[in-house]
């Protein structure tokens, strides 16, 4: 299967990455190359196999719920310290709602 340029543009849009026209062509060639290589997975028989989602079943088996309590907070200055556009106690962004 090979992705067309419209699909590449749609993926870039979903990923919120601006691509110019020349970049669309290049991304198409590279991504199709990688997807073509990945295609070999289709030959593996995975009938009835449970998907492995986490990094370690051993660790997952021992996972526990932590108490549902507030244990942190009141750090507005630390959280805003790296903001590119701090507006008082808020992150500034371009106008979203008219």
């Amino acid at each position: 299967m090979s992705l067309d340029t419209a699909t590449i543009r749609r993926i870039a849009s979903l990923a919120r990455i601006r691509l110019d026209e020349s970049e669309v062509q290049q991304a198409q060639a590279e991504i199709n190359g990688i997807l073509g290589w990945i295609e070999q997975l289709q030959e593996v028989d995975t009938e009835g196999v449970e998907p492995m989602a986490g990094g370690s079943p051993v660790a997952q088996a021992r996972a526990r719920l932590r108490p549902d309590v507030v244990n942190d907070g009141g750090q507005a200055d630390a959280i805003l310290a790296n903001a590119p556009d701090r507006q008082g106690e808020y992150f500034g962004v371009p106008k979203v709602v008219e």
Binding site: A15, G55, V58, A59, Q60, A83, P84
Partner: protein, 495 residues
Amino acid sequence: MHPTDFTLRGALDALTEGTISSVELTQAHLDGIAKLNPRLNAYVTVTAEKALAAARASDERRAAGQVGALEGIPLAIKDLFCTAGTRTTAGSRILDSFVPPYESTVSQKLLDDGAVFLGKANLDEFAMGSSNTTSASGPVENPWSRANDPDTRLVPGGSSGGSAAAVAARLALGATATDTGGSIRQPAAFCGIAGIKPTYGRCSRFGIVAFASSLDQAGPVARTVEDCAILLKSMAGFDPKDSTSADLPVPDFARACERGVKGLRIGVPKEYRLDGMAPEIVALWEQGLQWLRDAGAETVEISLPHAKYALPTYYIVAPAEASSNLARYDGVRFGTRVTEPGSDLRDLYERTRAAGFGPEVRRRIMIGTYVLSAGYYDAYYLKAQKVRALIRRDFENAYAAVDAIVTPATPSAAFGMNEKQDDPVAMYLNDIFTVTANLAGLPGLAVPAGLDAQGLPLGLQVIGRAFDEETVFAVGRTLERAADFTALPRLRAGA
């Protein structure tokens, strides 16, 4: 002996005996960095003043009888670990100005044990790469060079290329690193040092910039297996801030190094004998197995039938998780923001991410976005998760018959900075021997074991059972002792 030539263990002994102070040790490393870092580019940020202040404080603690496990030891910290008050870039333009207000758990544990941080080590952008050529701060050079071609600059491997180059060039006694598909073991092998990716869950991921959360693990690189064991002991342990960290006791890894291998069964996966593999790699592997037999181990051929699917599986799972993890870099809460006059919010996101991410990161985010998108999720992501389960099952079956597995660490020695840059898949093949351990969540150690015909280091890899790093260290130390790897890189402090 020049202070930068100490092993970490040797430096701890010298500090204990009082033949050197942490300030002297730290200053010697800073001098080496000042001389060699302009060429090697192993450090993105050098925190000389903070390091010397920390060394003075350490010497005072030692004088007062307070001696931590790493008291006064100068280390490099991969610039993927958040360090409170010290810029943390992840090798990306998008985090160029980011100063974390908090410390990663692993680096905090090292500080708690008395370590001194020299600075932040260079890496591939967001730890995505095998050559350390994708960093926004420029490429790292391997301190080693080919005997017959000394002018060709070689890559240190990646993504922890700055950590590995710094340790090999004696610009740190050890370093933190991370490994998602081979990012500790491949650069360690390329730079002639040791490095271990522990079992998934052994080290907390809190405060480490996330790449692929089900694969990422922190671990150390150092010049000896024992030094890695000492560092891992300090780095490991349960952390309530990481729900995937394992609540298990941390063994005395350094003691395990001297256990020996008598009676151990060592697995040799037949699927790792690749067509066209370099004869030197094949010979080194066979030599390593012979060393283990000489030390009393038995070698057993095993089969990992799905290992050949590990890399394509990884290149679905890792980009999928990365596309989700890297969604947070949107130019709003931290990092670089790029806008044009009249930009709306969506335009702000798209311009920020286009300018802030390099080509490899953009490529992986797009692949991850695609394999998770509606209509393709089952065909790609779910399929990859099922093959991942089969890869893990292969290891479980193998460990019914063996105690550890030994393979080459990499399919080749370090390559030139301009090689393998045009074809992403050719670059991905660097991790062919390492990536299975990430997918299965198992510990893997790279040990320097020999030189190729051009005098470049080659490594062997030991893969263990989950949470059995002790056997991995015992096998690794036996290989290290037999290999007696004493070759030195041309570029190094004190040379």
